[in-house]
Amino acid sequence: MSDTVIRAEKLGKKFIIGHKVQYGGILGEALVRSARGIARRGADMLRGRAVIEGDEIEEFWALRDVDFEIRRGEVVSIIGHNGAGKTTLLKILSRILEPTLGRVELNGRVASLLEVGTGFHQELTGRENIFLNGAILGMTRKEVQSRFDQIVDFSGVEKFIDTPVKRYSVGMYARLAFSVAAHLETEILFVDEVLAVGDSEFQKRCLDRMSAVASEGRTVLFVSHNLAAVAALTKRGIVLKGGQLLFDGPIDAAIAQYSASLSKGKANRDWGKGHHSAIISADLLDAQGMPTESYEPGTPFNLRVEVETTNMPGLGLELQLRDANNLPVGFYSSSIFSQVALPSEPGRHVFTLSLQPLFLASGDYSFDIATNSLTIVVDHGVSNAIPFNVAASSPGGIAYDFKQSLGNGVVALQLAAPLRIERKEPEPA
């Protein structure tokens, strides 16, 4: 029996996307345009091609010339920017998408977790959903039955197991969903960003569970933005960039490669757009209100973000502060932390935010910026939108530089009151 369980050769995936060209609002022009659109789509249909929305059509390779081999029992992570092709790769491996070019060979029973709670039905109870979701993930009824108690136990929702899941809180829902997934026992497992659910205590349990899975000799392919988790769980990393394989090797080197590729390419600010919004620009401002790339520790963070919205209510703005290793160190959400939503009238809006001072260690940082809808789905996300640098950090006001690279963390803890020292008398014998 061969020891290679996954072999991808010259794998490529092409998508065809359409762009909308902006026109003025003259009715006659609009009519001509829609008549042309009907003619074009009709011709496409006769030729059996798909209907693409938009006025200009473009081919786009989400994945190109990707080769790799994975042996039995290996735990490998795939890292890369948004849109680097990670999810496309997992979808091809799990037979959801068909590759345009190349081939994949799989040996063994495969299960993939591209999201938690796939197929959960709001009207059904927790118990019913466990069986439904289990079947969708490829478990037999017997398998689900034999693990039912463990699943319920792990999720911690025993009390509500016979309640329709539409009455669950977001956290309960996510915990139940992950619990079903965590009890999949296939030889090959693909996991995409599903660990970002629940509270931190539950996330830790998920990570423990994933490392247990990894140590059972099963083959796991793991996609995550959580570099700490990636580093802890896997030994080998595959870095994708623009659909191509940038690096394949030890995880530390892979993370370094990825971080290096992040810090390039700020100059061009075409960040694309989401379904309902687009982040146009984002800057860190200095005391004079001018854009800057350096931050003085212990001063307020002044940020300016320009967002274009359509008429979608309830969008929020999110900031994720990351350190030089791209590990998250801080987070802000306008909808959760301030209960402020983006205006729903279409147009461009400029947000000025002032965040409380942080005594950051010296080194490189960046803010990821995203708009999200109430269902906590990112609409438009820009990683590394505001890169900045802390040149020097001297919490004690002396010439001592508190650096990120010292390994003591990224925040210098500040005293709230002067340090007090009292002598304690020895107790009488």
């Binding site: 798909a50 209907v51 590759p99």
Partner: protein, 280 residues
């Protein structure tokens, strides 16, 4: 893990590769079929006041209206000595079954797009699972039919034993076009508007509210191209027995059309399903 699922299974993924494992996969995923069917049935009458009673109310009222409009006002003839209400109901049963399968199954891939874009399984399970909902409602309607027959004192003869065959035929008539539409609608959403229209028109061009014998003799064969004609005739033959003889040449045409649509539906579905996730 089951020893039957040992890693002996080797799988090659390639563009345009005919999937020889497909039918084996279909067997392996049979539990998913049952659970999706169960889900659709379980969810159908949730949060309604009268629940399953809807399956009684709708066909019953339709029957009353059709009997009044076609039987009393338009004074269309019945078949033999059969009461008009029984004639209508025997047509309404297969029509409701087939039309609900056609509407539910043809949109089923789109309504389950969440599944299609997140997990693999043989997609053909989805439209077939919706058939069960139609069948459950159908069984309820059978009870009403029995009641109506009892009321009018109509006693079926041995023909009734053939009813399961015609039920299967009604499913086949609907599932063929439904599979085709379910596959095509993923690419061209236009068909979302076409199907309800077809169902609406179909009610009047199929002999639901009247007897197929109303159509002039020379047009009978042409009329049978609508496969519902064969199914409804078959139902009436099974339920009313000698009062409603089966017009065999027409029935054969209906069978042929049904077989062709079934073949076309499965073929189209199989050819396009690998691209579903790209288009959804």
């Amino acid at each position: 893990m089951n020893s039957s699922d040992r890693p002996s299974q080797r799988l090659i993924l390639e563009a345009g590769r005919a999937d020889r494992q497909y039918w084996r996969d279909l067997w392996r995923y049979r539990e998913l079929f049952f659970i999706l069917a169960w889900r659709d049935v379980a969810v159908r009458y949730k949060q309604t006041v009268i629940g399953l009673a809807w399956a009684f109310v709708r066909p019953f009222i339709t029957m009353v209206v059709f009997t009044i409009v076609f039987g009393k006002l338009a004074k269309l003839p019945t078949e033999g000595a059969a009461p008009y209400a029984v004639l209508v109901f025997a047509g309404l049963l297969p029509w409701t079954l087939a039309s609900s399968i056609l509407s539910d199954a043809s949109g089923s891939v789109l309504t389950n797009s969440q599944l299609v874009s997140k997990v693999y399984f043989p997609r053909i399970i989805i439209p077939f699972a919706t058939v069960m909902v139609g069948l459950v409602d159908f069984c309820v309607s059978l009870v009403i039919l029995a009641g109506v027959m009892l009321w009018y004192g109509v006693v079926p003869d041995w023909h009734i034993l053939m009813l399961p065959f015609f039920v299967a035929l009604a499913v086949a008539v609907a599932i063929g076009p439904a599979l085709w539409a379910a596959a095509v609608v993923v690419k061209y959403r236009d068909f979302r508007f076409v199907i309800p229209f077809v169902v609406q028109i179909g009610l009047y061009v199929s002999p639901v509210g009247f007897s197929a014998k109303v159509v002039p003799q020379e047009w009978q064969l042409l009329y049978s191209i609508n496969p519902m004609v064969g199914v409804i005739d078959g139902f009436r033959w099974a339920i009313l027995g000698g009062d409603s003889p089966l017009y065999l040449p027409g029935f054969a045409v209906s069978l042929l059309v049904t077989a062709f649509m079934l073949w076309l539906g499965i073929r189209t579905f199989r050819r396009t399903e690998r691209g579903f996730a790209d288009l959804i």
